[in-house]
């Protein structure tokens, strides 16, 4: 139960409401009672002072003078408004008609000169507020008592309490409904999200959530969802593109083999014709196995299941090895390779790095123009090792520059001009990435390209 956001909210609001409303209710009742009693007390005090002032003036004729006070509610028997004057020997000297006519009296209290107040049950069986104060008149001490009914005040207080008891739960229920509605409305998009996520298959990876109409707080979720979908779609497309490219690249040599078999077998052949067919088939088989091993290598590199054999090395030495490996094919194409720069020590997998640089330099030779050159410079820049490979070749068109590291991408669809499988640079990128490095390319059509390989020192 406590695992639901809604029940947590309800419990939280319930506790806050109970504490605040209970406290507030008690506080308000207490304050209201104080105000009501205070006003009664003031009234009683005035009454007592009035009676006392009459006592002082006409000592012998108290009752007669008091008759001026004993009007209104004080004249109605058991009206709840009373006064009486008690002498020092606890004898009632005079009392309001509301008492005397009913033949009753207030409980006799021997007061002090300071007014005292107390709550009692009056003759009419109702709650009374009683005040008593002593006065000295002509050397004799009298205690004047006055009382007012608390009935009306208690009625006000109790109706106030009733209001609180009705209104507060009502407010609480309304808030509760509000919480339920708001949580329902705000959690609804989550249901929508989970429904949408549940519907995702490889068939609808292009779907995105429309951010309009979604609560502001949930928009980041929608954005993340869309970003995630974008990445999934991209990687899925890449995978399927890879598969289709791989199958496409395997189809051409397969077609050659198939055609040689079909045509050769279609009639009687001389041994030399069989030989020619077998030679061609063998060549195509080699091409297929190169493509397959490169595909496997990329898969291994990208799935990161290969381990790097990290050793310390000098990049200059690595590049010298690369030069040795490529010198024959470079001189065959009439291309000059220049290696310059300084010694830079890095750590990495020497074999893989050599492979990566061979691939890059090999491309620089392959895509070069006749009698062109390839310049390799080893150095460091801003705390990174940097190898630049510059060729004087055909250049890479701007729109294709981002894609050259994609598997099977070839700048030209031509396979016969340069026998590349289109996998070389994606292998290079995978190796450099695995070493924590990166590759940048600059190129100008017709003038050449520059590959910059950064590796951490």
């Amino acid at each position: 139960m406590f695992t639901s956001i809604r029940s947590k909210l309800i419990i939280w609001v319930l506790s806050i409401f109970s504490v605040i409303f209970t406290g507030l209710g008690f506080f308000l009742c207490y304050k209201l009672e104080g105000i009501v009693i205070g006003s009664i007390d003031r009234h009683l005090y005035n009454e007592v002072q009035l009676v006392a002032s009459l006592l002082r003036e006409e000592e012998a004729n108290i009752e007669h003078e008091l008759s001026e006070v004993a009007v209104g509610e004080y004249a109605i028997p058991l009206s709840g408004h009373y006064y009486q004057i008690v002498s020092s020997d606890n004898r009632i000297v005079a009392s309001s008609p509301s008492l005397s006519v009913a033949g009753t009296s207030l409980p006799i209290i021997s007061g002090t000169f300071i007014p005292s107040y107390e709550n009692i049950i009056g003759p009419e069986k109702g709650p009374l507020r009683l005040m008593a104060q002593s006065f000295t008149v002509s050397d004799r001490t009298y205690t004047i008592q006055a009382a007012d009914s608390l009935g009306d005040s208690y009625k006000i207080l109790s109706s106030f309490k009733k209001i609180i008891l009705i209104v507060f739960p009502l407010v609480f229920i309304i808030s509760l409904i509000g919480i339920l509605v708001i949580t329902y409305l705000s959690l609804k998009p989550l249901n929508y999200f989970s429904k949408r996520i549940g519907q995702i298959t490889e068939m609808n990876l292009n779907e995105r959530i429309d951010k309009r109409g979604i609560d502001k707080e949930l928009q980041p979720l929608a954005s993340s969802f869309n970003t995630m979908m974008g990445r999934l779609e991209e990687s899925f497309l890449r995978q399927s593109q890879f598969l289709s490219d791989a199958s496409h690249d395997l189809k051409t040599p397969t077609s050659v083999i198939k055609s040689y078999c079909d045509v050769t077998l279609s009639r009687e052949r001389t041994p030399s014709e069989y030989k020619e067919a077998m030679e061609n088939i063998s060549e195509m088989t080699n091409r297929i196995s190169v493509i397959i091993s490169r595909i496997l290598e990329i898969s291994r590199l990208e799935s990161k299941i290969f381990s790097l054999n990290i050793v310390g090395m000098d990049l200059m030495d690595v590049m010298k090895d690369v030069l040795k490996l490529l010198e024959p094919s470079a001189s065959a194409s009439g291309i000059k390779i220049n290696l310059s720069g300084q010694r830079v020590n890095i750590s990495g997998d020497r074999e893989r790095l050599t492979e990566a640089f061979v691939n890059i330099a090999d491309n620089a030779i392959k895509y070069n123009k006749k009698d062109g050159s390839v310049d390799i410079v080893v150095g460091d820049k801003n705390g990174e090792a940097l190898v630049t490979v510059t060729d004087t070749g055909i250049g890479i068109p701007e729109k294709g520059r981002e894609k050259i590291f994609d598997r099977f991408h070839r700048i030209d669809e031509s396979r016969s001009v340069v026998a590349g499988s289109g996998l070389g640079l994606s292998i290079v990128r995978a190796i450099i990435k695995a070493h924590g490095g990166r590759i940048e390319v600059e190129s100008e059509i017709g003038k050449g390209s520059r590959f910059m390989i950064f590796l951490p020192l």
Binding site: S244, S247, H248, K251, T252, T254, S255, V256, I257, K258, S259, Y260, D262, V263, S266, R267, N280, E283, M284, D412, E413, S414, R415, S416, V417
Partner: protein, 224 residues
């Protein structure tokens, strides 16, 4: 019948060319799109076999451009692109047929024959002129029920005349559709082959089927 083959993979082009030549076709090969378009626009051909992924100019562009110029030669797309979208795109661009790599060579031959029949508006694989039967599927020739052996060039010549039966076939037509671009049009090789063909088809038969139309060319017909 003359076929233009536009395929950048040289080994594949070579073996297809060899296979087609053995079937009596003359074959012109282009290794890139530009050369291919030039050939299609300037050399007569009965069928064009076109790859889609080509250097310089892709197959679909060649197709659209030749159709725009009103060249109606049947085109067979021979490509590794095998999705339905690619096929629809290819056929909608004006291709007459679509074959995906890798392919069965026999199927390629059968589809080429079908395209040639469609172009000549002939439904049957066997063409009959009087008592002469030409089976275009297995290249079997019968005259009066007896099998006649022909060389591939002789067959190609007879087949071309058969597809155009009852019509005059000019020397130029024959040269253009039976030989490839390397043929020397001034030689008298053609006349020699026509003579060989006559000897094999008409010799010993009362009714001659191959006729010379003076100054115009040849005609293969049953009626006088």
């Amino acid at each position: 019948m003359r076929i233009t083959l536009i395929e950048d993979e040289k080994q594949l082009a070579n073996i297809i060319k060899k296979g087609l030549q053995e079937e009596g076709y003359s074959v012109d090969v282009a290794h890139d799109g530009e050369e291919g378009l030039y050939m299609v626009e300037n050399f007569p051909s009965d069928v064009v076999i076109l790859d889609i992924m080509l250097p310089v100019l892709d197959g679909i562009s060649i197709l659209s451009s030749m159709r725009k110029k009103g060249i109606k030669t049947p085109v067979l797309l021979l490509t590794a692109k095998d999705t339905i979208t690619d096929k629809i795109k290819g056929l909608d661009s004006g291709a007459d047929d679509y074959l995906t790599k890798p392919f069965e060579f026999g199927e390629l031959l059968a589809r080429i024959r079908a395209l040639i029949r469609r172009k000549a508006d002939i439904k049957d694989t066997v063409i009959r002129i009087g008592d002469l039967e030409i089976n275009t599927a297995n290249h079997e020739i019968k005259r009066g029920g007896k099998i006649v052996q022909l060389s591939s060039k002789e067959y190609a010549m007879l087949q071309y005349m058969a597809y155009n039966k009852d019509k005059i076939v000019s020397r130029t037509d024959l040269i253009e559709h039976i030989y490839d671009e390397n043929f020397d049009a001034n030689s008298n090789v053609l006349d020699v082959y026509v003579n060989y063909l006559r000897n094999k088809i008409d010799k010993g038969f009362k009714k001659k089927l191959i006729h010379t139309v003076r100054g115009a060319g040849y005609i293969l017909k049953d009626r006088e």
